[in-house]
C-alpha cells in the first residue's frame, strides 16, 4: 500500500496512534539517540543516524532475566521477569538497522527460542526512513547486499521527498498504522512515484565507500586463518569493544547475578551485552584462554561476520552502517580489512 504523507502532518499521525508506545530519535548532547516519545510535536526525523542502533529497544543492553531472594532460613525464590510491553513503534529506523534486526531474529529463534527477545520483538512495528543522503561518510550498505531504501525487516518505509514522505506499508502491522489516520494519507500521483524512484536511485549513487567484491571474502577467509593480516590489523586495537557495542548486528551477551542485599541474598539475574573483543570473553576459570591475543579476536569478529554467519544463515552479519569505522578510536576500518582480504595472495 503506497501513500503520501505531508511532513507537516507527521505529528498529527503520531497523535492518532493510540495504544502504542513510540520510540523516535532525539538529540542528546552531540548525537541522536532513541527515546520514548512523550510529546509527538517534538519528533523530528531530521537526523542522520542514531549513535546506537535501535536494536537496544528490542535487545536492551541490560535486562533482568529473573529476580531472586533468599531468606536467612528459607528456600531461595526465583521469579521470572518476562517483559510484557505495550505494542510499540520504532520510528525512523534506517534500513541497515532494520535488516540487522532480521539477523537477530535468526539468532534468537532456532532450537531454543529466547522468550525475552521475542516478548519485545513480537510487539514491535518498525517504521523505516530511507537514506536520501548517506547518514555517514562510512556507509557501505550496497556492498553488503543492502540499499539506502531497503525494505528488509521494515513494516513501513518512508522515503524523504522534500515536503512529503512517500509511505509504503509493507506488512499488515504497517497498514494498521496508516489506517489509524486515513485522512492524512493521500494516494500517490504518477509524479510522486517518479520522484520517489529518483530519490531511491540517486541515494544509491551517493554512497562513497565500498568493498571491492564481497562475494570473494567468505571463500578467501577459509585460507587466511593463519594470515599475518590479523596481527597487523589488530596491532593498534585498544580492546575497547566499541565496534561490537555499536554494531547493529552483534548479539553476544553475558549473564550475571547482581546482588542488592548480600546478607539475605537478594538481587537480579541480568543479561548484558558482551563482546568477543574483550580478552575474558573466552577465558576459562582455569586461566586458559583459547583466544588470548587481540589478533585472534579481531579475526573472530571478521570471520564471524563474513564466513561463519554466512555458513549458518546465508547472509553477511554486517549491514554496512559504518558505525564501527567512524567510531573506532584507532581507525580500524572494516572495509579496508575486507579489501585487504580480497587482495591477499
Amino acid at each position: 500500500m503506497d501513500k503520501i504523507l505531508a511532513k507537516k502532518s507527521l505529528t498529527q499521525w503520531l497523535k492518532k496512534l493510540d495504544g502504542y508506545d513510540i520510540y523516535a530519535p532525539f538529540p542528546q548532547d552531540d548525537t541522536w539517540n532513541y527515546d520514548l516519545v512523550t510529546d509527538p510535536a517534538k519528533v523530528s526525523l531530521d537526523y542522520l543516524n542514531t549513535a546506537q542502533a535501535p536494536k537496544k529497544i528490542i535487545f536492551p543492553q541490560r535486562e533482568v532475566f529473573l529476580e531472586f531472594a533468599r531468606t536467612e532460613d528459607g528456600a531461595p525464590q526465583m521469579t521470572e521477569t518476562l517483559p510484557d510491553p505495550a505494542p510499540f513503534i520504532v520510528l525512523g529506523v534506517r534500513p541497515c538497522d532494520a535488516k540487522a534486526l532480521t539477523q537477530h531474529d535468526m539468532v534468537f529463534a532456532g532450537e531454543y527460542t529466547d522468550p525475552y527477545y521475542w516478548a519485545r520483538r513480537d510487539k514491535s512495528v518498525l517504521v523505516g526512513l530511507g537514506c536520501a543522503t548517506p547518514p555517514s561518510p562510512n556507509c557501505f550498505c550496497p556492498t553488503v547486499d543492502g540499499s539506502p531504501h531497503s525494505k528488509q525487516g521494515l513494516d513501513i518505509l518512508l522515503t524523504d521527498m522534500g515536503a512529503n514522505y512517500y509511505v509504503e506499508a509493507l506488512t499488515k502491522k504497517g497498514e494498521k498504522l496508516l489506517g489509524a489516520a486515513k485522512t492524512l494519507f493521500k494516494p500517490p500521483t504518477p509524479k510522486d512515484k517518479q520522484t520517489k524512484e529518483k530519490v531511491v536511485k540517486d541515494a544509491a549513487k551517493k554512497i562513497q565507500r565500498q568493498i571491492k567484491n564481497l562475494a570473494e571474502v567468505p571463500p578467501k577467509l577459509k585460507g587466511m586463518f593463519e594470515s599475518e593480516l590479523w596481527d597487523q590489523e589488530a596491532m593498534s586495537c585498544l580492546r575497547c569493544g566499541i565496534c561490537t557495542y555499536l554494531c547493529p548486528t552483534c548479539h553476544c551477551f553475558d549473564i550475571s547475578d547482581e546482588v542488592k542485599n548480600a546478607g539475605a541474598v537478594q538481587g537480579e539475574r541480568v543479561r548484558t551485552w558482551d563482546t568477543c573483543q574483550f580478552p575474558d570473553f573466552t577465558m576459562h576459570s582455569s586461566g586458559h584462554n583459547p583466544r588470548s591475543d587481540k589478533a585472534s579476536r579481531l579475526r573472530q569478529r571478521i570471520f564471524h561476520k563474513f564466513q561463519y554467519f554466512v555458513e549458518n544463515h546465508k547472509t553477511y552479519q554486517c549491514t554496512g552502517c559504518g558505525r564501527c569505522i567512524s567510531l573506532c578510536p584507532v581507525g580500524i576500518d572494516i572495509i579496508e580489512v575486507l579489501n585487504k582480504v580480497i587482495d591477499h595472495a
Binding site: 548479539h251 538481587g267 558482551d274
Partner: protein, 286 residues
Amino acid sequence: MNGTQKATKSDNPFLPEPARIVRTYPLTEDVNFFQIRIADMEKALGFSYQTGQFAMMTVLGAGEAPFSISSTPSRPGLLEFCIRKAGTVTNALFNLKENDLVGLRGPYGTGFPVDKMQGKDIIIVMGGLGAAPLRSVLLYCLDNRDQFGRVILLHGAKRPAEMLFLEEQLELKGRDDLECHLTVDSDDTGQWTEGTGVVTTLFPKLEGIDPENTFGLVCGPPIMYKFVLQEFLKLDIPKDQILMTLERRMKCGVGKCGHCAIDYIYTCLDGPVFSYWDVIHMRELI
C-alpha cells in the same frame, strides 16, 4: 545449529529448576564431589541425559556456570558433579552445605554416541579434571558391561593427592572386566604403587588393540589433547572413532550468547563431544 524459523515458544530456557545438594565431599584439595537432586521429584526422574552432556548450575547471587555431568544416565534420579573451586560460582558453591538449594538447567550439548559404541572396545583417557565428564561414560559402560568389548581406562594426574575418584578407581581395578591403568606425573608420597609419568606413558601397556573395533575417548587439560590424539592415531583408530569432550566458557548454554563459538559451530549445541574429524576441519578447537 540455529534454524532461521522461529519455533513455537517453549518454556523459558533461561529459568533454572530448583535443586538440592544431597551430598558433597572433597575429592582433592580443590575439587569437590556433589550429588544433586532436582527438587521436583517428577522432574528429577524426568531429567534424561546422555553421557558427555553438561548442565548449567546456579548459585543464587553468584551466578551460573556450565558443569559436565559425572554420573551415568543408567543410574537415574541423582546427578553427580565433580567441580574445581576456581571462579565466582564455584567459590560460592563450595560454601553450600548438604540440603542447600541450587538451580539447574539442561542437559545441554552432544553426548557420547553410546549406540554406535556398542560391541566395540573402549579406551578412556582422562587427565586432571577430564575425569569429570569421562566418569559418566566409564560408569555407563560398566553398568552395561555386556554391550561393550574391552573397557580400558588410562588416568593421569599430577600427584596422587590430585587424582580424582582414586578410591573408586582403585576399587574398579579389582574387576577383571576393566583394564585400569593409573599414573601420576610425580609421586610425592613415596607410597604410590601405580605408574609414574604423563598419561601417554600408559599407552605402551595396551596390548592387542584392534583399531577398527576401538573407540578412543579423551578429556583433560588443553595441553593433553594433542599428545593423546597422536597416540590414538598411532594405534590406527579411525578418526571418527576418536572422540573428545572440550571445555569452553559459556553463559547461555543454548547457542545465543556467543562465548563458546568456534568456527561456525557453538560448543554448547554442537559439542562438547567432538571427533577427530572436527579437529581437522575446525581450527581453534584444540
